[in-house]
Structures are given as C-alpha cells and as structure tokens.
Symmetry: C2
Subunit: 349 residues, 2 copies
DNA sequence: CTGAAAGCGCTAACAT
DNA sequence: ATGTTAGCGCTTTCAG
C-alpha cells in the first residue's frame, strides 16, 4: 500500500537522505549497504534495504555516474545494415549486455557518412559522454571512422575490422576467407574456370573483398587465370544480382555457369533470373550465396550459402568490451568467428 | 595541433573550469554561452566558444543531467520482433530521435516476459533513471506491461496499443481494421464463403485479433456464416503457414480457397505448400498476406499484402514522446497510421 | 551582461 | 562498522 504510494510518487522525489533518515543511519551507510554490503553489518543492511523498499528508492543514476564515472551504458555504432543483419546483431549485443548488467545505446551511423564523412564519428561523439564504451562496426578499409573513433579515448571494440588495422583494439570478426574458401571448393570443384563468376557487393567493402580474394585465389593457386569480367562488384542488392544475371543471359553465358555471390540477396537475384530464363538449378546453373540469411532457405531451389553467426558477432563484441572495461590493461584480443558452409539445392550435391 | 592534443587527452580531463580560465570568464558564463547564448554578449560568447574549441571541451553529460534532470536519451522497449520489423522500427525511431537531438537506448523485453511476466517492466525500470521517456510496444491486450509501465511515472508512448487501454497515454498504431477490411474486400469478393480462410498468428495478439475480426466481419455483415475452423490461430511463422496448408491439402480443401494470412510469413508458407501440391496461384488458390515485408516481393508468385509503415511507427512514437517531454500538459494524442493494400500476383487481378 | 555561491544526489576518503 | 565531509562537473538563483 505505502509501496504503491511511494512508487507512484513523482519520479525521483526520494533521495538517499530519505532512506538514511528512515533507517536511522547516515547516507554513507545507505550507499554502502546497497553497493558494498560486505562493509556493513548484515543487520544494518537489512534495515536499510527495508527502508529502500518502503520508500521505493531508486538511486539517481546521474549522480552515481558522476562519481563513479560509469553509466552502465554501452554504445553500438552500426553502418546502414540490411534488416536481418541489423536485428540479429542488436539482439546478440543487447542480450549479452543485459545479461551482464549493461544497457545498449544505439548510435547508428547509417545516414551520417554522407557528404561529410567526418559527421559519423561526430554524431557518435555526442553520445560519448553517456557511454562507458563503444562497439563499432566498420565495413570499409581506411574508413575515417576507424581512426577517428580510437582517437576519442573511449574503450572500443571493433566488429568486422581488418586485423592489421585494429591491432590495438579488441575486435570481433568472421573468418570470411575461410568461409569463402570452403564455398569455392564446394562450388568450383571440377569446373571449367571460364564458367566461374564472382558477383560482389561494393568494391571497397571488407567482406566482399575477402570473398573475392578467396575466389581468385582458388584459381591462381591452381595456376588458372580469370578474365577480368569474371569478378564483378556493385552492391549488395537483389537488383544487382538480377542485372548481372540478365547481362549474362544476353551474352548466353549463364548456362553452365558457377556463380559465387557475395551475399544471399545477390544470389537470389541471380537465381531468379536464371530460373526465369529457363535454366534448371542446379543442373544448368550453380549458385552459392553468403550470410545465411533466412532468405536463403525461403527461395526455391534453396540456396547454398555460407552462414555467419551474426548474433554472436554482437554478443562477443559486447562481452569483450565489458571485459576490457573491468581491466583496461588486458592485451588486445581478436575473436574470430567461424562461418559455416550450408549446402542446399542451388549448388548441386 | 593543440586541438589534437586536447582531444586525445584522457577522457573528460577538461572541465568547465578550464574553459572559464582560458576565456577569462566565470564558469557560469561558460555555461550560459553554451546553453543560452542570448544571455551573453556575443563577444564573450565568441571567446568562450573559442576556448571550448581549443580545449576540445565536452560538458559532462552526467553533471548536466544531474542538474537539468534530462539526459537526452529515450528508451525503446520492444517485444521479440521478427528481424525486419525490429530493424525498421529501430531505424525509424533512431533516425527521428537523432534528428531531434536525442539518443535511443534499447530496452528489449523479448526474453524477459518469460516465466515471471513481471520481469519485463522490472528490467526496463533499471534503465528508467537514465532515460527521459519511453516508447513501448505491446502486442497483447491486458499485458502486464501496459499497466506496470505507466505506474512508473515515465513519460510514455505506446506503440500498437488498443486505443481504449491507453487513453491517458500518447500512442501510435496502425489502422489494422481498415487494412484488413480492404484486403478482405479485395480477396473475398464474389467468393463462396465456405472456401475462405483466415490463418492467424498468436490467438491473443492484438494485430491478429484485429485482422481476424475484419475477416469475420466481412461475412457477418453480409449475413453469411463461417465454420469455426475457417479461422485459425497459432503463431506468425512460415512453418505454421505450411502446416496449415498441408492440413488443407489432406482434406482436399486448399484448391479454390481464398486465404487471408495474418502476416507475410504465414502467407509464404501457404503459398509454398500450395504450389508444391500443384496448385496454380492465383488461379486455384488466392492468398493475401499482411505487413508488406520484403519477403512478399521476393516469393513467386509475388504476394499481395497489406503494407505497414513500420519505420513511421517508430518515427512517430519518438516524435510524440519528445513533444510530450517539452510539454507534459499536452492532452494525450493518438496517431493512427494508414496501411496500404498492395495487390500483386497471389490474389489474382 | 557577468560573477559568486549554492546545490543536484551520490560515492569515497578519512575519521572514529 | 559507521558517520563526517569533501567533492564529482555542471546549472541556476541571486547580486551586482
């Protein structure tokens, strides 16, 4: 009853002093009882906690943070990610964070990297005073973001960064090279090199780069060479996959092709056009995608792909960050997550 | 040069006093120059701002918040949403928030509403001290969440709540009834009522309820009656759509059916099974989904659906919340967003 | 228009 | 084990 009254009382009306008064102790004791119970007699602690309960007391987080210099809030800065990627990453991050007693503040930088690239970090920096650390995902090498961010003096964990670039930071990334290699070995085995294609995302995108590299490597390590147009870049869209495939159809080159796509969307575009132009997949056209999004199991025929543990990306980044917070002297750690080749129908058996 | 030094100096080392010293003014003036320039001579303001710039000064947000009682952070509490829904909502919310100078703190409640439903709000409340207001989405009537949340005394905007339940709060919702009605009129026109089906999500889910109601209404308003099994509930998954459709196939009832699905996933499941059992869509089977997710344009044949402006949901909720923050006396407002019927292939012309 | 001074609510020495 | 006291860095009266 009195509890209800208390908790519906105007926000933040009850302060540590009120608790102290009710419990007949000093405010210091109240503080200790709540934060360092081992320094207080269990009897006093009980009294204090009872008073806290009765008054519905909630410490003022700002006053707290002002003293302790920690807010319990972690920032997470993401580029303009595709829906599923975004949500999985957030889910992983948020889940891990809350499990460890932290909150997650979103600092999307999607539309900030527009005309003035410097805006990105600037925007992020507005939140800097509020957060204990930052998880940042970068998708392009030499991104201003990377360098600006670490000049800011916030504990920082990178997602998806090139190892070399971030040696001083903790980082979490996926072993794209490995996943791509597996995909290539599966898709390209015994193929005529001139029938093999890589359809990439943005030319400067980290992940696309890695995947393209593995693709090229597959051939060069076998002493085989590729035409320049066998490796193309554009963006991560379904439309691009379609456009590419239509181009191929024009020149009658899609039949019998083996196509490694930089993500599932592109792959679906290719697959769609392939089917629409009468090709049997996988008999006349083999395709492998990347990411392992839900899309890959929804299309027909189902798409072979390289599955990325996106939520683990978020989860690990947060874990690393929190660990660093508790021990700034820790040497930088780099977690590398394993992708999984998922063979479905689109690539033959 | 000195700027670089300043900004890479250990975090938060420069305080308002440092700026005051450099600008040869009092800290009060620094504060004014930054927050209420109109109270300071433009000359002094310039000096102060120069000092700020030179030292790379950033006000301590906690000290600020301790005085002003506002953090510039908004909480957003979401249930366990499907990927695309989640990301669009967040994108809208975040974009609007940052445009208005706020940050968004995620307070997902997805896995909190487990065994003890009370946990949800409790978890949220841990962030309460940090946020200026909360956007909360509820998907079930009589959710404890709704009532607990508003007992907490935080400015609150509801997303998707039943109007009656939240008359005292601002709210943003989608006119599901209207969208569903349009879908029904389109899909069911001239149909034999006994061939019409509604495949719902969770039985207690707000949105599903609304859609089911519109479906039933379509017939009852025409004096036609439905068998109980023509309206089914389960969950929002593709699997459920498939399972339902397979059941229908068993009893030879899928042919010539008109199926209104509570979301696109279910619809895709039905569509998939329909095709796999040799039905021509839309000739032998007509389907309409709900939500307007990307999925709906990716399947073949393309899915007719009712498009929901998800990002606008987030965007409007944030806008309402911020407006309320600046004027607590505002009468409660209820924004109702319009869905759009998108007619594609799956429902015939 | 500007400065001096009083806190905001809390934690952390420092005493006892 | 507990109380006293001094701030954390800022905004805001209140005087001038």
């Amino acid at each position: 009853m009195s509890r209800d009254l208390a908790s519906s009382r105007s926000r933040q009306s009850v302060s540590i002093q009120d608790v102290a008064d009710l419990a007949k102790v000093s405010i210091a004791t109240v503080s200790r009882a709540m934060n360092k119970p081992h320094m207080v007699s269990s009897d006093t602690t009980r009294r204090v906690l009872a008073a806290v309960e009765e008054l519905g007391y909630r410490p003022n987080r700002f006053a707290q943070a002002l003293m302790t210099r920690e807010s319990g809030v972690l920032g997470i800065a993401l580029p303009d990610l595709h829906g599923e990627f975004y949500s999985e990453l957030m889910r992983g991050a948020d889940s891990e964070a809350r499990g460890l007693g932290y909150h997650v503040l979103v600092s999307s930088i999607h539309d900030d990297l527009g005309p003035k690239p410097a805006d990105g970090p600037v925007r992020v920096s507005r939140a800097l005073g509020l957060i204990d650390g930052l998880v940042a995902m970068i998708t392009e090498p030499s991104s201003v973001l990377a360098t600006q961010l670490d000049a800011m003096g916030v504990p920082l964990v990178m997602i998806g960064a090139e190892a070399g670039q971030t040696d001083e930071h903790d980082s979490v990334s996926v072993d794209h090279a490995k996943g791509a290699r597996q995909a290539c070995e599966h898709l390209l085995a015994g193929a005529d090199p001139s029938n093999c294609y890589f359809v990439g995302g943005p030319r400067r995108n980290y992940d696309t780069l890695k995947r393209a590299h593995a693709f090229r490597d597959y051939f060069s390590s076998r002493g085989q060479t590729l035409q320049e147009n066998q490796v193309r870049f554009h963006d991560y869209s379904l439309e691009w996959g379609k456009a590419w495939a239509r181009e191929m159809v024009q020149s009658n080159a899609l039949r019998d092709a083996r196509v490694f796509c930089a993500n599932d969307e592109i792959a679906c575009g290719v697959l769609r056009v392939g089917r629409d132009s009468g090709l049997d997949i996988p008999r006349d056209l083999r395709i492998v995608g990347f990411d392992g999004t839900r899309l890959s199991e929804l299309v027909r025929p189902q798409l072979s792909t390289v599955q990325i543990p996106v939520d683990e990306l978020g989860r690990n980044a947060v874990r690393l960050l929190i660990e660093r917070l508790s021990d700034p002297e820790l040497p930088p750690r780099h977690v590398k997550l394993e992708p999984t080749l998922v063979v479905r129908e689109s690539s033959g058996s």
